[in-house]
């Protein structure tokens, strides 16, 4: 892709796919105006951000399909209709540059582009779907009549279990190694036998998406290498500032560096838990005090949160040790648990500094029996949630609003309302990170302390 300043763009080559859904295999041989470079990317970013928000709010697949169609229409149309496809491809490749640079960025971009691809695929016609499947070169084979007859009963059981119509005599099924369709296997949406999954026509999106994701993942690593080795330097006056600015927008702080309010000491924790922790962390904290133990998921979620809040590693070790000693003894704590706390602070193993979990990550976790992590607005029963909110001091009117949001699966909005009720002040930005809840709360509460002094 060649970037030129303020010239009329000319298309030299058509895109690399017959259908309107491109494969993004190669950067297109196009000349792009510098302004378009940025504008196209911002438009696409709006689409991706919209998808990200919707997923965090737990929207259902049908809702997602409509949302994607609307977002795409609203943002990705070009004044000249024939340029639509080019805008699609160009914006994708620009964002690759932007989001290849760290693992967190790559992960986010990969998830959103994959989701976008999935719903655009589903929105396409059967013909488009079939054509795209051939382009992708997938390791699957349509099964024969005999195979179908042998598996028919099982295939019908699967269909019935999801309230799907039973497969007809001429239904097409693809036989595929189960490794290719992990999400279908995970949801028990396919019959598998001796390592092969029997995938129905309407499920092939899973195959396509898996392959798309895998291709993009590899491409991003390569892009990162090229960026670091040549492009960044070459383009330091032109593209690099734009690329770096683009990556700052929309994702917000990740709370891995705590600068604002200095350090928190252990003796403050109980009081802070009551005044400034969001419900998810307060629940974990209370359970830890009560049981003197937390399972792994809880240790991670709470531990990283406390790190983001400003708890130093030495204090963290002392804090967890004091609690766990009641249950497992100090010696066992040192042997079995201290390592992973140091690991979280980047002092062991890979020495990655792990970042505290965002709401999106917490909401999509799956706490099992004995676990206390996750998002209470999502994972608690209504009864338990009401009790917990009551203990936080949420009044009855606010409680109804919160519960109403939960019923509509707007978990983060529910948490925002809780924040507003507890602090008697509004939170316009909305909560999307537990550490954000804490820092906003701290900001509101702290001035009072200073005045007293």
């Amino acid at each position: 892709m060649e970037i030129v300043r303020s010239q009329r763009s000319r298309t030299n080559t058509p895109n690399d796919s017959v259908s309107t859904l491109p494969l993004y295999r190669y950067a297109p041989q196009l000349e792009v105006r510098l302004e378009d470079f940025e504008v196209f990317a911002m438009d696409r970013l709006r689409v991706l951000k919209g998808i990200s928000d919707a997923l965090a709010r737990g929207k259902r697949p049908e809702e997602m399909e409509n949302l994607v169609r609307d977002l795409w229409k609203a943002n990705m149309r070009h004044p000249e209709a024939s340029e639509d496809v080019n805008k699609d491809i160009i914006s994708h490749f620009v964002l690759r540059l932007v989001y290849c640079r760290t693992e967190d960025l790559r992960k986010w971009f990969l998830s959103m582009e994959t989701a976008l691809y999935r719903y655009r695929f589903l929105l396409g016609s059967s013909e488009a779907k079939r054509a795209l499947m051939e382009e992708f070169d997938l390791p699957c084979k349509a099964i024969s009549r005999t195979e179908f007859e042998n598996a028919k009963e099982k295939l019908e059981q699967v269909a019935r279990s999801f309230d799907q119509p039973l497969p007809t005599a001429d239904a097409i099924f693809y036989k595929v190694p189960f490794e290719e369709v992990p999400e279908l296997v995970a949801g028990r949406r396919v019959y598998i036998h001796k390592g092969h999954a029997y995938v129905a026509m309407h499920q092939v999106v899973s195959l396509v998406v898996t392959q798309f994701r895998s291709n993009l993942s590899k491409a991003l690593i390569l892009t990162n290498r090229k960026w670091t080795s040549t492009i960044r330097e070459q383009e330091k006056d032109r593209l690099t500032p734009i690329v770096e600015a683009l990556s700052m927008s929309y994702l917000g702080p990740d709370y891995s560096q705590t600068k604002e309010f200095g350090e928190i000491s252990i003796k403050d924790l109980d009081q802070l838990a009551r005044s400034s922790f969001p419900l998810c962390m307060r629940h974990l904290f209370d359970k830890l005090r009560e049981d003197h133990h937390l399972k792994h998921g809880g240790r991670m979620q709470l531990g990283l949160f406390l790190k983001g809040v400003g708890l130093r590693m030495e204090d963290a070790l002392a804090f967890w040790k004091a609690e766990f000693s009641h249950k497992v003894g100090a010696e066992r704590f040192d042997k079995e648990y201290a390592y992973s706390i140091r690991h979280n602070y980047g002092k062991e193993g890979k020495r990655t500094d792990y970042t505290p979990y965002s709401c999106q990550k917490i909401i999509s976790s799956t706490p099992g029996v004995g676990d206390h992590h996750g998002c209470p607005y999502r994972h608690f029963s209504e009864e338990n949630l009401r009790a917990a909110l009551g203990r936080m001091g949420v009044g009855s009117r606010a409680m109804e609003d919160v519960v109403d949001k939960v019923r509509n699966r707007h978990y983060q909005l529910a948490c925002t309302l809780t924040f507003e009720a507890v602090h008697s002040s509004s939170c316009d930005a909305g909560i999307n990170h537990p550490n954000q809840y804490f820092s906003d709360s701290h900001k509101i509460l702290q001035p009072k302390v200073e005045i007293v002094i």
Binding site: K154, Q157, V158, R160, S161, D163, F178, E179, P182, E183, V185, A186, G187, R188, Y191, I192, H193, K194, G195, H196, R225, H283, H296, G297, K335, Y339, S340, H343, E348, G349, K350, T366, P367, G368, V369, G370, D371, H372, P376, H379, F380, S381, N384
Partner: protein, 384 residues
């Protein structure tokens, strides 16, 4: 050397007893380890297993394969040595005998010999990264504490161990029939559970996502004490669930567990079960019957069986086809009551993706082969 042996032939059997008397110290003694590694530990078998055929002579053998496997040793003073690797059977054997680890963990096979890892960058083309790792399941009897009244914690008895057997049957069948794996080793973990090692090449090369998918395939009940206990699966079931029910679970529940754990015998216990049923009219009808008849009129029949039959009949007479979940267990095995044309209670092997993930990366936590002395007899690994 057991206590019995030492008592019976006490004077003869003592080798290095203390001067005080004929007492052989109970519990662990580091000298035993020396003997164990010297005479009992199957060095050759481990080497052969972990080589997966690469110790042969034909051209396709990868001579570097065994040397790329990480082992880690826990030494007597709790020192934990990671990234131990060996290029031959004798190197492995000598190191074990010399260090006498109290625990040996087997890690993944890396892209290069772990001893050389510092020479490789984290990113780029030449990475030091895990490339193969067996698929491992870890089932712990404490995950059943919710449904066994005979024991709790690390205790196990003949009444509750069958819960483990059932889980093993369900998982083993699915691994072979559904996923097509052949080389599966089930082994007692030494304390309170079992480990399952799936060693097929395909299994060793699974990604984290694929392992997670297998775990989710087994998972039935998602929840804990905070969430709603009533989870329903309306309608018919996936072939895996159907097979597990008909071939293993129904019989086990109705003929063994019901009675051995006295699931309906007291109010506290039957309330646990009633709390799973979403239909209030059903639960209050049953509660009414059971509160009155502290002892069933037909005292020849066991009260648990009798109440279970009553529950089935009451559910069946309700016109709805209600499917509901009975969370008998914690992470590993989930059970549910399903009413379609007849109610049934089922248990499922389940695995957390956490366990599978860290089994791959060996991120400071330890899947262990080390503690139990010797292999179980009931394994089907064709390499042995």
């Amino acid at each position: 050397m057991t206590k019995e042996e030492s008592k019976n032939g006490s004077d003869d059997m003592l080798i290095d007893g203390p001067k005080q008397g004929n007492v052989i110290p109970d519990g662990f003694n580091p000298n035993y380890l020396k003997v164990y590694y010297g005479r009992l530990f199957p060095h050759a078998d481990i080497f052969k297993w972990m080589s997966y055929g690469n110790d042969g002579r034909h051209p396709a053998c990868d001579k570097s394969y065994f040397g790329r496997r990480e082992f880690s040793f826990t030494l007597d003073n709790d020192i934990y040595l990671r990234f131990q690797s060996f290029n031959s059977e004798s190197e492995l054997e000598n190191s074990i005998k010399e260090k006498c680890p109290s625990k040996i963990d087997i890690g993944p096979v890396y892209s290069v010999d772990p001893a050389k890892r510092h020479a490789y960058a984290q990113g780029g083309d030449n990475v030091f990264a895990p490339v193969e790792r067996e698929l491992i399941f870890d089932i712990d009897i404490t995950d059943y504490d919710d449904v066994r009244y005979c024991c709790s914690g690390a205790d196990v008895c003949l009444e509750c161990w069958p819960l483990m057997t059932v889980a093993i049957k369900v998982i083993d069948t699915a691994l072979r029939d559904d996923f097509g794996f052949d080389h599966i080793l089930w082994v007692y973990s030494g304390r309170r559970g079992v480990h399952c090692w799936v060693c097929d090449g395909k299994a060793r090369r699974l990604t984290n996502e694929q392992r997670g998918a297998i775990a989710d395939y087994f998972r039935v009940y998602k929840g804990n004490e905070n969430s709603n206990k009533k989870v329903s699966f309306p309608g018919p079931l996936h072939p895996f669930l159907v097979r597990s029910y008909t071939e293993v679970l129904r019989e086990f529940f109705e003929e063994k567990l019901l009675l051995s754990q006295n699931l309906f015998s007291t109010e506290e216990r039957y309330e646990k079960i009633l709390s799973m049923i979403p239909d209030e009219s059903v639960t209050s009808e049953l509660r009414g019957k059971w509160q009155e008849n502290r002892r069933s009129s037909n005292s020849k029949e066991d009260i648990n069986f009798f109440r279970w039959e009553q529950l089935k009949n009451t559910l069946q007479s309700g016109k709805q086809k209600v499917v509901f979940v009975f969370p008998l267990t914690q992470k590993i095995v989930k059970s549910w009551i399903q009413l379609q044309y007849q109610p049934c209670l089922s248990f499922y092997g389940n695995l957390t993706r956490e366990i599978l993930e860290w089994m791959l990366i060996m991120n400071g936590r330890k899947p262990h082969l080390g503690n139990q002395l010797g292999f179980s007899d009931h394994h089907s690994c064709s390499l042995c």
